[in-house]
Symmetry: C2
Subunit: 145 residues, 2 copies
Amino acid sequence: MKGELLHAERKLAEREFRITPQRRTILKVLRSHQNRHLTAEQIYRIARAQGFKLGLATVYRTLMDLERLGLVARLEIGKGPARYELTPTHTQPHYHLVCLRCGRIFEVTASIPEDFQKIIAQNQNFAISDRSIEVFGYCEACRSK
Amino acid sequence: MKGELLHAERKLAEREFRITPQRRTILKVLRSHQNRHLTAEQIYRIARAQGFKLGLATVYRTLMDLERLGLVARLEIGKGPARYELTPTHTQPHYHLVCLRCGRIFEVTASIPEDFQKIIAQNQNFAISDRSIEVFGYCEACRSK
DNA sequence: GTATCTGCAAAACTTTTGCAGCTCG
DNA sequence: CGAGCTGCAAAAGTTTTGCAGATAC
């Protein structure tokens, strides 16, 4: 097991969370699937497939903690279970293009236009977070049918 | 009961759906709460409180049908049950500002900037639907605490 | 040593489905 | 009349919780 503590681990330690093998494992799985938007169940399966022992409830509990710390974002996309992604360390907001047909999520990392931000900020005095923006529509594959 | 058939009812009839009292009721509740983003359960309770008889399963089934017809949009916001809104007849895409703290949804009806649309369209050859775009952040009330 | 964490199983919730009977057109 | 719709209750699927034992610090 690695000795070094990465960003997320440091943040956990700072807030008096314990660095357990289970939590390390979950972070590791998330790190090795940066663009996959995994469900809790998938994280659980991947971890077990790699020989780590942990329970599904622990995955849910850990994801909840990580979300509160701002290390993980929870995405509710269409039906079925929620999906989770590691929030990049030096993140700029990014877009999620969600296909209403196939449910796949495409990432666009482009900064958000100035005038767009103004509209939002002025209209309700609303502060955009560093989370993603979700745009719904139809992907190329689904449209060409 | 009204004799006239409104937009939604006409659309249902066109597609060989039957106009039943239950479906009328559900549409009526949605119409009288245009900006409220109701859950299936809430629709069910409101309808019953007004003296209409119907089952929760019917509400779910009807909402599913209405969604397929494009008359209703299903919103997954944070935890808990999904929420539904009537899609305006002559709609332009609108924004939903979702507060990550209190979960409230604020509407912004402003057209989507040109350059924004271009970024999306070009990047993945993705076609934005007439559904809303969801932006996450913190509302005024929650920030002033 | 002890407050925190974990696994398991049960509970809680939301949504879907099977089926017998009812109703719209 | 007949295809489609409804209500009920049961099932399915996802997430949370209680608790006894284990563990990080």
